[in-house]
Structures are given as structure tokens and as C-alpha cells.
Symmetry: D2
Subunit: 139 residues, 4 copies
């Protein structure tokens, strides 16, 4: 993957730039370019998801694993959506709570339907779909 | 208010820039500078509100005006918070529903408390606090 | 508009209910029913907007009124979208900044296009579209 | 962990209830109780994070692993925050892009600082902090 960097100028009011420079430092950015690239990519990822393109997300679930049938039910939903799922990670938060992260890839409507189906399962205490990207249009 | 524009360069990968240029056109921006300024200001407004600075917002309420006591109750809450309120606008959505927008200015925690108090009133069907800015640090 | 109230039971774990009751008090709700109705309506308004139904919103703009041509440009955009606009409110934040709220009604895609067009205008420092509702499906 | 279920009644207008019932079906909920529990928990998780309580989150990063020094830099940031990190998962999205999910636990301000530090690293194309919960107050 050869990348070709393009450089261009933007103009900003001096006071706005000073406020932005303080913001960068708080957020830990080394350069303005990097911070602006992140703002641009964030806007583009939101657009990707609205356009129902092929994209990538993570589904985070906190649940009570001892609830009868729950783990089997979550597993079945995932098996039926096998082609959307790339990987899973699992941690025991305490004796009664688990967190699972499922990394998914596909059209945004399909990922949202899968997330709805998992999050609405009884015994799942909290669930969220996080929208990210394949990275390809952002490189 | 004399403004001094500063011009500086940022570097972006060519492919990312092409994707961003398509995004700009869809959003109606005439120049990259203007689109990037908007992304920067959006990030700064969010920070202003997290920092509990003096700021500006709008509280949007949809409610049922014929509900006994409701209009009086909303008016009383607003009178008690008089110093936070700059202006109001009101429209009749239909015979049974009103929309009111209240423009407010103050510390973000005070604006949030006022919004909570109005939104939780019985008969208010939907309410939202929109976070914007005095404009001063963004000029 | 005659309304018919329906009462139904829901079950909640005791500890979750206690946490929810503390939340209610902080938010200013008088009853659990009212707080739950608000959570339900909030979820339904988000769905209304995703479904591109006829809906209502507010567009909040902070801008620099002395910028040559800006007020005329904002006015023209609004005139071209006349049928979407219900009302306006305007305040002078200080000598150099105005806030305008435009109350709009229509399909959510049309409201988003109008908001994009106003927010991307040069001289508009910050703009936001707030999604609310005609109230009809929420009563 | 013995749980004690409490049952209580809420009243809703008939039309609102019908709209809510359609929403439930679309989202895949089997019962109103389960859907309302999810709305309640979502509101409580947002409050947990605002209150800076001990909580749980996931940090999702999409990055270019071949960028010199990047993997080492991300690893170092994580080692310095070792006590906040519970687990990691990693997938290769294609030859040039990786996705990593880091499961974190701690005060919400500490988790946000760690997320800022990872997301602002050059070569990270997109990053997000997802706020969830230990599950304890939501059971």
C-alpha cells in the first residue's frame, strides 16, 4: 500500500486556532494535521454507516452468564450470523457478570439487525453497537 | 472585532482527501477550510460543555398545552431561572400540540438542570437540550 | 382528542429499581410512569427520524451577522425551503454574534438537507439540527 | 446473588403503547418489561459515566500495523495503564488494517484519558470509547 500525501493550506482565525491548539494538547495530539485527520475520519465513518456501505463495528454486551439458556441463545444468534462475525473477546467482570465484545463486518443495516437481536435478549443487561470502519476509505 | 486569519498547511493522504472532498460536496461546503473549521468548532463546543464554561443552548419542548396547569408550571420554572433565559419561540403544531424553544445562556450544569426540570414535567411529550456556544471562543 | 390510558405491569429487579428511583429524583420526575414514558418517547422519536416520517425539528445557528452577505444568504436558503419552516427566533448574543432557531417540519431527509445547507454557510460558527416530533404518535 | 423481582404498574396512553409495541417487535424484544428494562439501564449507564463512578468500557481502534513504531507505541501506552486493562482482542481486517478492542475498567475520567491517548496516536485511523458498565448496579 503506497500512500501519497497531499499537503494543502487552510485558514483559521487566530483566536480559534489558539483554542484548538489547547484542545489538541489536552487530547494528546502531537500535530494539528493528526488532530484534523481524526476529525475528518470521524465525520467520514458516520457517513459510511448512514450510506449502508460495507463497514466494521463492535458489539459490546454485559450479561449474566448463569441465567439458564442465555449463553446458548447468544451463541445461536451468532451462529446464524456467522458470516458477519470476525472475532469475539470475553471477560468475567465478577462472579455474576460477563462482558463480551463481538467484532463484526458487513453492511451497516445487517450489523444493526444483529446488534438489536443480541441486545434485546433477556439477561443482557447492557449492549451497544460501536460504529467503526474497514479503514480502507480512511487510509 | 478585528479578526486575524492564520494560514497553515496540513497533510492528508490523497485517497482520504478524495473521500473528504466528496463528503464536502454532499454537505454543501464551498471550501475545505470551511468544512474543517466546522469540524473544529464542533469539537470545541463539546469541550466547552464538558468544562462547565459559560455557554449557550436551546431547550426544545413538545407538549400538550390543554393539560391543566402545564403552561403555568412551565412558566413558573422559567421565571425561577429568569437570568438563564434569553428568549422564547412558540408554534402550534396542531390543535393539541405546541413546540416551544427556549434560548438559554449560563454555566452548562445550570442549563442542564433547567432542561431536566422542564423536560421531566408531566405533559411534556418530548424535550431536548441542544448545546451550542456564545460564539466568542469560536470566532 | 380523547385519550385512553392503559395500565400494565412491568417487573424489575429490586436493586435496579432502587437505582432508577434515585435517577428519577435527580432528574426531577414525580412518578416512575412519567420517567418511563419519557424514555419510551425518546426511543420512538429516534425511530421516527430513522424512518424518514413527517416530523419536526429545530435548527440552531450561531453566526456573525456583520459578515457581508451572510444574512441575505441565510434568508435565501430559508425562502427556498419555505414550506418546511414554521417559525424563527433570533437573539443577539453580543455585538458580534447572533443565535437563530428555526422551527422546521417535514420528512427527516428534507430537514437534514436544509440543516446541512444552513450549517455549511460561511460565517455560521456552529449549527445543529435537533430532532423532535409532531407529538402525534407520542400522545 | 439472589435477585428479588418487584412488579409495579405504569400507565400509558393507548396510542403511545401501540407505537411502542411496534417498536418492540422491530427491535426483537419478547416483552415490554424487557424493552423498558433496557431503556432504563441505558439511561443509568449514561449517568454512571457522568458521575465518574467505577465503570467498564471498550476502546475500539482501527490502525495501520505496518507503520513503524506504532504497535510498540500502542503497547507502551497500554502497559503504563495496566491496571485499567482487562483484556484485548485483535483482528486483521486486511493486509494493511487491524482492529483492536481493549476492554477497560476504572473511573470514567481515567478511561477517557486512556482512550484519548490511544486514539490520538498517529497511525490510528479511527478510535472510539464505548461506555458500558460493571453490571453491578443494573442487575
Amino acid at each position: 500500500m503506497r500512500k501519497q500525501l497531499v499537503r494543502f493550506g487552510i485558514s483559521l482565525d487566530q483566536q480559534l486556532l489558539q483554542t484548538f491548539d489547547r484542545y489538541l494538547m489536552r487530547k494528546g495530539y502531537a500535530t494539528r494535521s493528526e488532530a484534523i485527520r481524526d476529525l475528518i475520519r470521524e465525520a467520514l465513518v458516520a457517513q459510511e454507516w448512514r450510506d449502508d456501505q460495507e463497514t466494521v463495528g463492535t458489539i459490546t454486551l454485559v450479561y449474566v452468564p448463569h441465567r439458564p439458556g442465555l449463553v446458548r441463545q447468544l451463541t445461536e444468534v451468532q451462529h446464524r450470523s456467522g458470516s458477519l462475525i470476525l472475532a469475539n473477546a470475553h471477560v468475567h467482570l465478577d462472579a455474576h457478570h460477563c462482558l463480551e465484545v463481538i467484532i463484526v463486518r458487513g453492511k451497516s443495516t445487517a450489523l444493526q439487525a444483529l446488534a438489536n437481536s443480541l441486545i434485546s435478549t433477556k439477561g443482557v443487561l447492557h449492549g451497544k453497537l460501536t460504529m467503526t470502519t474497514t479503514g480502507i476509505p480512511l487510509t
